[in-house]
């Protein structure tokens, strides 16, 4: 009975915390009044694009579904990421129009930094803009091993502007975009309709990230 009570409490706390993802932080207007600031843009190494399985499914279901979708996974793993490599330039071009001194850090971070103090020693800058591709490819809802509808094109990007002198996050935005597929989706080997939905998800995610940062400026 005690074990049941503990498990029930843990489940309830977990249920509550699943709604507690970090909120977006809008960039304050005062940021644009500083004409002498310099920012370094860094990107985090991208994950391998793939199929994200969502919904009610256990470990065995993941394994079964992965086996069934192996051709799709192989296709998604080769998805073009040139747009992600160009994203720092998109930000830098717009920042320079606002007379912000911008540099792009040449190396990709292996993972999101858990400690901003170590990042200051590594990059030697006052403010850092961290761009991260959280997920890219397709997502599909499952109930066990039963797919609940067609997959969707999927792209999730985050951006964080951090003041490394104070470790304060000045701006945070998460763009998690799912785009429906028009027409048939299961079209190996090139999956043209799915690819079009993925490109649309990327376009919307990039637009939201840029528009959130430069909103009103």
């Amino acid at each position: 009975m005690k074990i049941f009570a503990k498990l029930f409490s843990l489940f309830f706390i977990g249920f509550i915390l699943t709604g507690c993802a970090p909120s977006n932080v809008p960039l304050p207007d005062s940021f644009w009044q500083d004409n002498k600031q310099s920012i370094t843009i860094v990107t985090v190494k991208a994950p391998t694009p793939g199929l994200s399985q969502e919904g009610m499914l256990g470990v065995l279901n993941y394994a079964i579904n992965s086996g069934i979708n192996s051709d799709l996974d192989k296709y998604l793993a080769q998805a073009d990421l040139a747009w992600y490599n160009a994203l720092p330039n998109d930000f830098a071009t717009k920042m320079r129009k606002h007379d912000i001194n911008v540099k792009i850090y040449g190396n990709k971070l292996a993972s999101s930094p858990s400690n901003y103090a170590s990042l200051k020693g590594q990059i030697n800058t006052d403010k850092v803009l961290i761009l991260r591709l959280v997920g890219y490819g397709a997502e599909r809802q499952y109930n066990g091993s039963i797919p609940m509808g067609k997959p969707k094109g999927y792209c999730e990007l985050t951006g964080d502007l951090v003041d490394l002198n104070t470790n304060k996050v000045l701006w945070h935005y998460n763009a998690s975009i799912s785009e429906p597929i028009n027409g048939e989706w299961d079209q190996p080997p090139a999956y043209p309709n799915l690819t079009a939905a993925m490109k649309q998800a990327v376009a919307v995610a990039q637009d939201e990230l840029l528009d959130s940062f430069f909103s009103g400026n």
Binding site: A5, S9, F15, V204, E208, D211, S212, S215
Partner: protein
């Protein structure tokens, strides 16, 4: 004591599950409480563009205590209700909401004499060369799922064209606040919140256009 504890946890879960705001509501007209800091002698034509709209649907309700037969009946009833009244289950920031926003913007500009005259137009070619053409493009409107209490995100672009001068452009990304799982904010309130933010930003953008030499 244990029974009280279990009852409390169960009631909290039921309360949270019941906190789904109804979908089919459109926000009331917006108001602008500040003073607009400019008065232009030209007429303004307001034009509005609609982009992509991403909606969310309310999840199907299911009572697992009814047994398999009950679950099948509930599923059939749910599907029938959704087919007959799709608006009651679909959360969107669509043309109805955008129409309220544009009308509110027009009324605010008229009441505060921001321009000599303000007219909502449906074709940008109808704008005369001597008029100021103000375009609000709702590039993307997105309503997140029930786990985010149907939070609304608007990605919009304001363009102001005045004669042969280069167009003034600003983008605004606004999102409704208070998207936590505990939120009791109605969907109508979410629409009002995000629309009010956008109205304030668009008018600030117009003020910026005017002070930069319009």
């Amino acid at each position: 004591m244990k029974k009280v504890y279990y009852l409390f946890l169960c009631s909290m879960m039921l309360t949270l599950a019941a906190c789904t705001p109804p979908a089919q509501q459109v926000m009331p007209p917006l108001t602008y409480s500040n003073q607009i800091a400019f008065h232009d002698s030209q007429k303004a034509d307001l034009y509005w563009q609609t982009g992509s709209q991403v909606s969310s649907e309310a999840p199907p309700t299911q009572d697992y205590n009814d047994g398999i037969g009950g679950m099948i009946i509930n599923s059939v009833v749910n599907n029938e209700m959704r087919s007959a009244h799709p608006g009651d289950f679909t959360y969107t920031y669509g043309k109805a909401q955008q129409a309220v926003f544009m009308t509110s913007l027009k009324n605010t500009l008229v009441e505060q004499h921001a321009f000599k005259d303000v007219e909502l137009i449906t074709d940008p070619k109808a704008a005369k060369p001597q008029d100021v053409l103000i375009t609000v493009n709702f590039k993307e409107t997105r309503v997140l799922g029930h786990e985010k209490n149907y939070q609304i995100i608007l990605d919009t672009e304001l363009t102001i064209k005045n004669g042969n001068k280069p167009p003034f452009k600003r983008t605004y990304l606004v999102e409704s606040k208070d998207s936590s799982v505990f939120s009791t904010k109605s969907f109508k309130d979410q629409q009002t919140d995000v629309s009010q933010q956008l109205l304030n930003k668009v008018i600030a953008g117009m003020t910026q256009w005017y002070t930069q030499g319009h």
